[in-house]
Symmetry: C2
Subunit: 229 residues, 2 copies
DNA sequence: ATTAATAAAAGTAAAAAATACCTTTAAAAT
DNA sequence: ATTTTAAAGGTATTTTTTACTTTTATTAAT
């Protein structure tokens, strides 16, 4: 390697994952009891070392797979955190990711084994190191994404009602949306497909189940907000 | 250090900077003739090693200062690039940043010394490694930023005309904006302060110079696009 | 001194999008 | 048959965006 003389510029590199899920009409985060010192037993995000022969995306995907048993998870970089003192155990630079997973799909045994728990945002305990910051930035990213495209495909179960989708948005933005206007907006995007089945648990009339149309069918998705620039 | 047993997870870490400037009514990038092997003499972004005792932001700021002589430059993370084979010289993980600087303010001697050049986007030559990707992602970030807040404070000279600002936006988005509507939008944000002086070089009537109001004066800046969510 | 030329500045009308709010509907429970 | 409920489907108002027109301040030419 030509850069060997620069060996003192080497750093520990890890990834940390902010894992979003949606369960019982609440937006939740998968958090863990940390398994190693320092801060062993404290609440934290799940993370892992980045191996020499893998990219940070590969590492995050590997960590997620080890924990949830899931492949093909939605994953996006949040930001790199690199203050030399951020981790009292050593000078570790870490790349934060956020993921969205369908809670009902992942393997619970793995989660129990790792001392993990799904916790809704308002109930989230303080996390170790700068993990609270990571959560904050991940939320910002999620909100930004949700504001220019309709998300839910990665979080909601296969079939869901418009009310479920609206409630997901309420959870993400911590505000209420007008049911009629939200429905109008969502349906105008033409990304959903109505099933012939209804969810009868919430009302007399029942609410039609919908599912997201396959991405291949959807030629062009309008942004949620039309903008000129 | 408690993590010493994990020493094989150490990686070379560098930063690379996409430096935006605005000169002669064109959005430009500061690119460099690479000084070291491999790819010595080829066009590249400016980069540097991240030292053990600094954050990646500190490193990027240091690199920028060394090149331009400027402090307090606008700087934001773009994304981490980490494919093991991205740099043929070694397995280097790099955090890309983008910066905006006022071209007229920086020291030209430093730039000449480093074999640097301001080049407009359409004229940009192919860059080494994955630097073209970095430029693309930086541009996306810049566009996103410019679409929800009025930028220009970091790129334009102290005083400028609305036409200058509109032209900057045209360069960023590669499209024309209606002069009347752009003016109306910009002035409605109340972030500019009109001077009593005119630029007479572009028209008989002359165009008033403006400058950005101090950030302290500006209580709340409307986003460029009002959105509900 | 008057007029022509120019981009800046200001204004106006139409279209589109967002918002607030109202009515009807389908099914279940009484 | 009636009541109840959230869902579904409106409608009217307001706000924002877009397209286009008119006026203005100044210089240069006549």
């Amino acid at each position: 390697m030509q850069y060997d003389k620069y060996h003192n510029y080497k750093r520990f590199v890890s990834v940390d994952c902010v894992i979003f899920g949606y369960e019982q009409e609440r937006l939740k985060l998968l958090v863990f009891k940390r398994a190693i010192e320092p801060a062993k037993g404290k609440w934290s995000l799940i993370g892992g070392w980045v191996k020499e022969e893998e990219s940070v995306e590969d590492a995050a995907r590997r960590v997620l797979h080890d924990i949830t048993g899931l492949k093909d998870v939605f994953l996006e970089q949040v930001q790199t955190f690199s203050k030399p003192q951020r981790d009292p155990g050593g000078n570790v630079l870490t790349i934060a990711f956020y993921a969205m997973i369908k809670v009902e799909k992942h393997s619970n045994e793995l989660i129990n084994e790792f001392g993990a728990q799904w916790i809704s945002l308002p109930e989230l305990p303080p996390l170790i190191f700068d993990h609270d910051q990571m959560v904050q930035r991940a939320l910002e990213k999620l909100r930004l994404k949700a504001s220019y495209e309709m998300i839910g495909r990665q979080l909601l179960p296969e079939k869901f009602t418009i009310t479920n989708l609206r409630n997901l948005y309420s959870e993400i933005f911590q505000k209420q949306f007008d049911p009629g206007n939200f429905r109008k907006k969502v349906l105008s995007l033409k990304i959903l497909h109505r099933l012939d089945e209804k969810d009868m648990s919430e009302s007399r009339k029942g609410a039609f189940y919908y599912k997201f149309r396959d991405i291949e069918e959807v030629e062009f998705v309008d942004p949620i907000f039309k903008r000129s620039i």
